[in-house]
Symmetry: C2
Subunit: 194 residues, 2 copies
């Protein structure tokens, strides 16, 4: 059975993906020789996911999965978008920055979505991509301890809960990343069993 | 079971793909309402395959497979490449044009390859792409009755046979399109059984 290299340096993401991928032989960037980081200069989540998957699959020869995801806030013209992880230095300051920018935005204009793109590249000449999203809105203060990033200020659809208040099982099936993963997993299983 | 729309208006390609896809419920452009043709203005076979698959999957909502392929001749700087089907008005004149351009090219510099890219788009948010190629060289005169396009002047690897001289079963496993198809078929089967 082949391995799947999950190419992310974000421990939060790696843990989330490894949990959903139970039963697969999953390796991470910690398991391979250190490589220079790839510049995520794509204009879309999908471009960034492909950039990373190509880079690491070419460097290692492994079946490689990479993802890119972020928060898209309508009142901010789509920001932070592909700059979600570069929006501020850490999760706490990212959350604070969003809340500050949204301070005077009324409730009915606080719509937002989490979007995720996943790219899986088999060096044998096959690429799979998928996209998932979850609609919601920005709260007025952070709530919840689960997850990471903008999860505490993102109210999920009509659940009344922030992404950080969802139990991790519910999050895996509800989240943008969970949805994108659910679409590629049956296909990845085929590639792993080759 | 869902259908797979094989989006090609080339009867030769459609027949070849339908033969390899036995057991699947395959429909073609002849089975759907007529749509304006999509302009194949990509710079690579992969871009063109994606252009077509996106266009027809969005227009029909069907799981859609499109491909683009062509002949890449080293002595002609990669031509006809993505312009393979626009190189001349019909198969006969395409073959004649290649042979004329290659008239004074010595045997050891007549290397070429057939390349194929396939894109499969599930409107649910999944894209699969694959690439296949077969190395060979350009003959000095056309030979063989099978296939279409440049097949009669393309000598396959070290078989001593042109692509048009290969029996169709051998061609399905040897050809650029056959190789690219073999990579996506196990994945397409998963999407069809959803």
């Amino acid at each position: 059975m082949r391995s799947l290299l999950v190419a992310t340096s974000n421990p939060g993401k790696a843990a989330e993906i490894a949990q959903i991928l139970q039963g697969f032989r999953v390796i991470t960037l910690a398991d391979i020789p250190t490589l220079p980081e790839v510049e995520e200069n794509g204009e879309t989540f999908l471009e960034n996911a492909l950039l990373k998957a190509k880079y690491y699959s070419q460097a290692t020869g492994e079946l490689t999965m990479a993802d890119d995801s972020g928060l898209v806030v309508d009142a901010l013209g789509g920001a932070p978008g592909v700059r979600s992880s570069r929006f501020a230095a850490n999760d706490e300051s990212r959350v604070a920055k969003i809340l500050a920018l949204m301070e005077h935005v009324p409730d009915e204009k606080r719509s937002a979505r989490f979007a995720c793109a996943i790219a899986v590249i088999d060096p044998d000449g096959v690429t799979i991509t998928s996209e998932g999203r979850v609609e919601g809105s920005i709260t007025r203060s952070p709530r919840g301890k689960n997850g990471f990033g903008y999860d505490p200020v993102f109210l999920v659809g009509d659940t009344g809960l922030t992404m950080a208040e969802l139990p991790s099982e519910a999050k895996n099936s509800t989240s943008h990343r969970g949805k994108a993963l659910a679409k590629v997993l049956p296909l990845v299983r085929v590639l792993l069993q080759k």
